[in-house]
Symmetry: C2
Subunit: 375 residues, 2 copies
């Protein structure tokens, strides 16, 4: 991701979820009710996708992530969100000798897949994307975002979200696609980090804490950054969450690729058109960043209006990812027709791919009750 | 499973893993070293499958299960092993009305699959298979095995073990197949229980604690009990772990089935022949139970010599499941050839299926280094 002279590292205190706890311009009864709804506090209603069982599934899906993030919250550390995940495994005293970082990278990716990661890439430890400070969740003050010395690589893991559930956005039910992947993230990233620690190397497992995962995912070659603020991958389009590990294990790094997603975004505004909160930009990258502390300074990219976006989540009492559902890259690339579409979309015939997408019913919302009824 | 007049419920204190902590006839330097090896304590050696990275992967794979089982160990409760898993989710005050237990059972199985269970079955709350007492792990004394009142159903989940890793038994590497499924079990069973609790019903998630999962799995129609002490399923053969949930959610129950696995076991002794500890019986069910407190009393079934079995694990410093690897039902039923074999094995032509299996190299051990080299 391209930074300019105005670049400043981001302080986590300014992310919109953290601001919802301390910033009166963000916090409201609705944002409080949003967080309460994750504990089954009278959030359910009669609308399809917002009934008790929709919230029941969504909230249950977050459980593994919740267990990890709650365990040190009383000490100010919401692990995986406002602090790295504490390591349950000591670094082994004996260190496995690594003489071939290329082979080690390939083996590590195999182990990542064994633990359930859908994608894995490796990049260098780029300090620009570390938070300038993390947050103590006892009082939401800034505190040191410390990492051990000598870390050299960032391993980025991709976790595919359920396609059918994503098709039900906006709904509380759809949030189960998010929650399940946070739970997968938490489990997989700590198992992979434990594997590295058992080999005698440092490894700090991380979800949304410590640094911005999107620029690392892009640098690690997993995909391209898009108008909808998501990383678009050739394997799963935008339908992914990402986790990461900071490590000193000797590993070969991947090379970022630009197969042409951004060029497609240049001519496509399906996400911005569909956003009910009008939170997504229409123009070229870097030109429409809102004047808001939740937007990072000095990075040339498409930037959303985080306040407008999260305001809609609060109203809905669930996360919204309509921009993921309607994105033309939200397809099933196991199908030859969708693979063919991808080839065209990444070529100079991209306009034709966009026209084709708009004529199809690919982006149509699946009714939550139809999800429950089964395939 | 058939019980006789001599039947007595099993006290968990007598299972071989618990005895390894209090019973001098089981505990040894080797059994202590076995448990230590799960903490990377100088267990690795030069043999293929027992190097540092083999133990590193195995031990990392257990991590989610470890986090759950360690969190109340200081209070005497090793959750998932010597105590049910504590519920992180309150039972919701509003109760979703269930007017169709058949539809609810079908929906619940769908949710189980969404969370990653490979199989799910439901049976009644049969008290015979509850432990007469559980164990306080502070002093390994017996303590009450309490469950809430009014539970009516047991949901049994199956978790498939990795076929290629199972092919490497005996090795520390193979233990990663076991560990990963315990971690999956822990995560999936608490998420599914949380879903039920969010619907307003009681649900107690359980792994090896509280009761014997094998008779519940058989009653829930998931498979048949076999000579190798495992439940053999039509989907994955013996290559599964099981977890369970005790609940009062209104659910239709499944019907046990006997497609013919036991009849095959009657003519097959591949597991008993291959067991290096000679721990498996050769005769018909119920005739060869060793005189040992780890064998349940008054159940007509094939019973292993648990002391001999675990003695071999201790020597190996890892779990052994050669009996799972060599079992003729350990196949990939996605392949038509293996499905055809299954049909024959469950028919009156079973002798021919056994002959066919013995002539093939299906049961051949995969070298751990070949697993690491990748497919």
């Amino acid at each position: 991701m391209e930074t300019t002279e105005a670049f400043e590292p981001f302080s986590q205190r300014n992310d919109i979820f953290t601001r919802a706890f301390w910033d009166a311009s963000v916090r409201s009864k609705q944002t409080d009710a949003f967080f309460d709804s994750y504990r089954m506090k009278a959030s359910y209603r009669k609308g399809d996708g917002f009934r008790q069982k929709d919230f029941a599934l969504r909230n249950a899906s977050w459980l593994i992530s919740d267990i990890i993030s709650d365990r040190s919250a009383a000490q100010g550390k919401r692990e995986g969100f406002q602090a790295p995940i504490a390591c349950d495994t000591d670094v082994a005293e004996t260190r496995e000798e690594i003489d071939d970082p290329v082979a080690m990278a390939s083996e590590l990716k195999r182990v990542a897949r064994f633990f359930g990661a859908d994608l894995a890439g490796i990049t260098d430890m780029d300090d620009r994307w570390l938070y300038s400070a993390r947050v103590d969740v006892r009082d939401f003050s800034e505190t040191d975002n410390d990492l051990p010395e000598g870390l050299t690589s960032v391993i980025v893991l991709g976790h595919q979200m359920d396609k059918d559930l994503v098709a039900t956005y906006p709904s509380a039910l759809a949030g189960a696609a998010t929650g399940r992947e946070y739970s997968h993230e938490a489990a997989i990233v700590i198992q992979l980090a434990a594997y590295i620690r058992n080999l005698g190397y440092e490894a700090i497992p991380s979800m949304n804490d410590t640094g911005l995962v999107i620029p690392y995912a892009v640098k690690a070659g997993l995909g391209e950054y898009a108008r909808n603020q998501l990383v678009i991958t050739p394997e799963f389009g935008p339908r992914l969450r990402f986790s990461k590990i900071f490590t000193n294990l000797p590993l070969a790094h991947d090379i970022p690729e630009k197969p042409g997603v951004a060029a497609f975004c240049d001519i496509c505004t399906e996400c911005a058109d569909a956003c009910p909160a009008k939170a997504l930009p229409f123009g070229p990258p870097g030109e429409s960043a809102p004047d808001d502390s939740s937007a990072i300074t000095g990075v040339r990219k498409w930037t959303s209006d985080a306040k407008a976006c999260f305001g809609y989540w609060a109203k809905l009492q669930s996360d919204c990812a309509i921009c993921m559902r309607v994105c033309p890259f939200n397809r099933d690339f196991d199908s030859w027709a969708d693979r063919l579409w991808l080839k065209v979309a990444l070529s100079r015939w991209r306009k034709w791919a966009l026209w084709w997408d708009k004529r199809s019913d690919r982006a149509k919302r699946l009714k939550p009750r139809d999800w429950w009824a089964g395939p």
